[in-house]
């Protein structure tokens, strides 16, 4: 009797386990299929996007009227952005596919710039037309390659999950058609990037450029150490290390780190001249003792001590007993927005917790700022009449094309919102309109 009960119980147990296992298996498959489908969708959409892109560029070549050209450019710009977002969805993290992405991004930049331009007064140049024809050919090639990969994927029922596994395992032997196909696409684009260099196509997407304002002689490692010690206010050589940057760095730098108890400090110093590029001190910050305003004085004094001249406060913010200040270079009353330095001050005792001057050293030069050609009143007329102008400045900003322009900066209100509006001081063009926020409902009650 007991034996039979035992057998029955075990049988039910086994059957139950089997059933449970089967269900788990089903669920796992469902999840896998879901993920696979997301990849598939992105990939097929990408192929479609590129096809459409090629098509649109082709139509543009035949267009003559300027009224049609601008919307068409906007359309192409939108498609490149779609395509880029689809590339981002694919599990290509370990596969070098960035040339293709750059190519797409460059087309996007180029068409955007053309779309926002007044084509009546400034029509497409021959060079630009030529580069557009090149684009047409290149996008055609890419389209063909991608369609080829797509065809094989569909014919052989290839799965992106396998791609992911193959990439993760770095298995050389795996004959993975998708990977190979995409590598071919990448190669194709790589071949083009050189020919595009001087066609006005490349290079506006990235704002990083050479550091313009690093003066002084190169310093040695021991000099860097000495300088860092005075900046950190440290006497001894213990707990402090210096390392030189590798060859991937934009400019050669020394990284100095310092550790003492629960205080950590870190600094990047340019080899050229020993200028501090970024500095960060980490320590627990106690309750607030000094005001944001007092902190600003400390920050300003620190900049003066480091010989950053003519810096004026641009923004101040308080986060968790830390004051963060942004300063702009001020040349004869004109605020230069790209020459920015940020300083962090602990509001418990006024210590400097951080400095970043990368933007300053990258952009700052001796500028020859022209006199504005239109008056402030004329510029005000260019602003939306519903906006009530409250404050104005003269400023040098980077416009959409990445060029520095002199502009009137107006701060105005419309309803409860505040806007910052830049009007070009030479031709009255509305360069930029920003809605200013900076505060948000405290979702957590206590952030």
């Amino acid at each position: 009797m007991v034996r039979w009960i035992l057998v029955a119980v075990l049988t039910i147990g086994i059957a139950g386990t089997a059933f449970w296992g089967y269900q788990e298996h089903q669920e796992k498959n469902a999840v896998l299929i879901q993920a696979e489908n997301t990849y598939q969708r992105s990939f097929h959409e990408l192929s479609y996007n590129i096809d459409l892109l090629h098509d649109k560029i082709g139509t543009t070549l035949a267009m003559n009227s300027k009224q049609r050209l601008s919307p068409q450019m906007v359309d192409i710009w939108r498609i490149t952005s779609d395509a880029l977002s689809n590339v981002g969805q694919l599990p290509l993290g370990l596969l070098p596919f960035n040339k293709t992405e750059e190519f797409l991004s460059d087309i996007g930049d180029f068409t955007y710039r053309t779309a926002v331009r007044d084509l009546d007064s400034n029509p497409l140049s021959d060079k630009e037309k030529q580069s557009f024809e090149d684009l047409y050919k290149q996008s055609g090639k890419i389209k063909d390659e991608l369609r080829q990969v797509q065809h094989i994927t569909l014919k052989n029922n290839l799965r992106w999950m396998d791609v992911q596994l193959a990439l993760a395992n770095q298995d050389e032997q795996t004959d993975n058609t998708i990977i190979d196909g995409l590598k071919t696409v990448e190669k194709t684009v790589e071949g083009y990037s050189e020919t595009n260099v001087d066609s006005g196509l490349m290079g506006t997407s990235t704002k990083d450029h050479q550091f313009k304002h690093l003066q002084g002689d190169k310093i040695s490692e021991s000099e860097a150490l000495k300088k860092a010690k005075s900046l950190f206010n440290v006497k001894d050589n213990n707990n402090i290390t210096v390392t030189k940057s590798g060859d991937g760095s934009d400019i050669p730098t020394y990284s100095v780190s310092y550790r003492n108890g629960d205080e950590n400090a870190y600094m990047d110093m340019a080899e050229q001249g020993g200028h501090p590029l970024t500095l960060l001190v980490d320590r627990p910050v106690q309750d607030k003792q000094i005001s944001l305003n007092d902190g600003q004085d400390k920050a300003k004094a620190y900049l003066d001590k480091l010989d950053f001249e003519n810096m004026t406060i641009f923004q101040s913010d308080e986060f968790d007993n830390i004051g963060v200040y942004s300063f702009l270079y001020n040349q004869d009353g004109v605020r230069v927005h790209s020459d920015a330095i940020e300083v962090k001050v602990a509001l418990d005792n006024g210590d400097i917790l951080g400095l970043t001057a990368r933007n300053y050293f990258m952009n700052h030069t001796d500028r020859d700022i022209p006199k504005p050609e239109i008056s402030k009143e004329e510029a005000e007329d260019m602003v939306n009449p519903d906006v009530k102008i409250q404050e104005d400045f003269l400023a040098v900003i980077d416009n959409d094309l990445g060029e520095e322009v002199l502009a009137y900066e107006f701060l105005g209100t419309l309803g409860n919102e505040t806007y910052r509006i830049f009007i070009n001081a030479m031709d009255g063009k509305e360069e930029k309109v920003e809605k200013l926020g900076g505060t948000e409902i405290n979702f957590a009650g206590n952030f």
Binding site: L84, S245, G248, E318
Partner: protein
């Protein structure tokens, strides 16, 4: 007998509290602290400033304890009308003028904020008429905490949720790293957002398949600590200790040969950062 004693105890307790209250806070003549208040500040002084500006009719926004643009313009208009230097900073003279021109019912304002009520503080109107009942979801939670601001400062263009998401990623990826290493990981995420070869928003970069191991193995859903959050804020505010790196890896655990081919910039903690 008992129903006589109970009110007695109540009265005694009330007296004790009154005595305590009087001894801790003698009625301040100048309610503001001596600090100069400027844009970006948070806290009690800002609540008072907003309440007083609203009392005299210059500030129409929410009394939330964060000195934002609305408060800035209200203060400037006040300074203009009262013939003072218009700088949008509440210094001693401005505060004196404001105290003279307005009344501030601190207890009322703070209790309204603590109860999460929608309210205003205009002069001439009974305070009780200017409130609406609290929303249900705002009650509960930590009672007795100091007056929490109902708003917070966030860097331009970012929501607290973006910061939280990034803090999750940073914590999942680099919680064992030194502080700079955490700022560096956050900076890499932001450098990718700026780069043309990656998605152009924070969540796109973080959830890009196979980009971060912490996302792949679920460590991103650990609860981040304040250090990670602080590191993210620093990165958003412009600190980039990596020197514009877009990749990093841990040389001890990296499985991909490709990552070694990237030009390396530097090593922070256990991670090597590359272009």
């Amino acid at each position: 007998m008992t129903y006589v004693r109970v009110p007695m105890i109540y009265i005694m307790i009330c007296f004790m509290f009154l005595a305590l209250y009087a001894s801790i806070s003698p009625k301040p003549v100048n309610a503001f602290s001596s600090q100069v208040i400027q844009q970006g500040a948070v806290g009690d002084d800002v609540i008072e400033l907003q309440a007083r500006l609203q009392y005299v009719g210059y500030y129409n926004g929410k009394i939330d304890g964060v000195f934002g643009w609305g408060t800035y313009w209200a203060l400037r208009n006040f300074q203009y009308e009262f013939g003072q230097e218009i700088d949008g900073i509440a210094g001693q003279t401005t505060k004196q003028k404001l105290i003279k021109a307005s009344k501030y019912d601190e207890k009322h304002v703070k209790s309204q904020i603590n109860q999460g009520k929608k309210f205003t503080h205009y002069g001439g109107d009974n305070n009780n008429k200017q409130t609406t009942p609290a929303k249900q979801e705002n009650t509960g939670g930590d009672e007795g905490a100091a007056t929490a601001n109902t708003s917070v400062n966030v860097p331009e263009g970012y929501s607290q949720n973006d910061i939280q998401l990034m803090a999750n990623a940073v914590y999942g990826e680099a919680r064992g790293e030194p502080y700079v290493g955490q700022v560096a990981v956050a900076a890499v995420i932001l450098n990718r957002v700026k780069s043309p070869t990656f998605p152009n928003n924070v969540s796109g970069v973080i959830f890009e398949p196979r980009a971060f191991t912490a996302v792949a193995d679920g460590q991103i859903w650990l609860t981040p600590n304040d250090t990670a959050k602080q590191a993210v804020l620093d990165a958003i505010n412009g600190w980039d200790p990596t020197g514009s790196a877009e990749y990093y890896f841990n040389p001890d655990t990296a499985t991909s040969a490709w990552i070694w081919s990237r030009p390396q910039i530097k090593k922070i903690g256990k991670h090597i950062f590359c272009k």
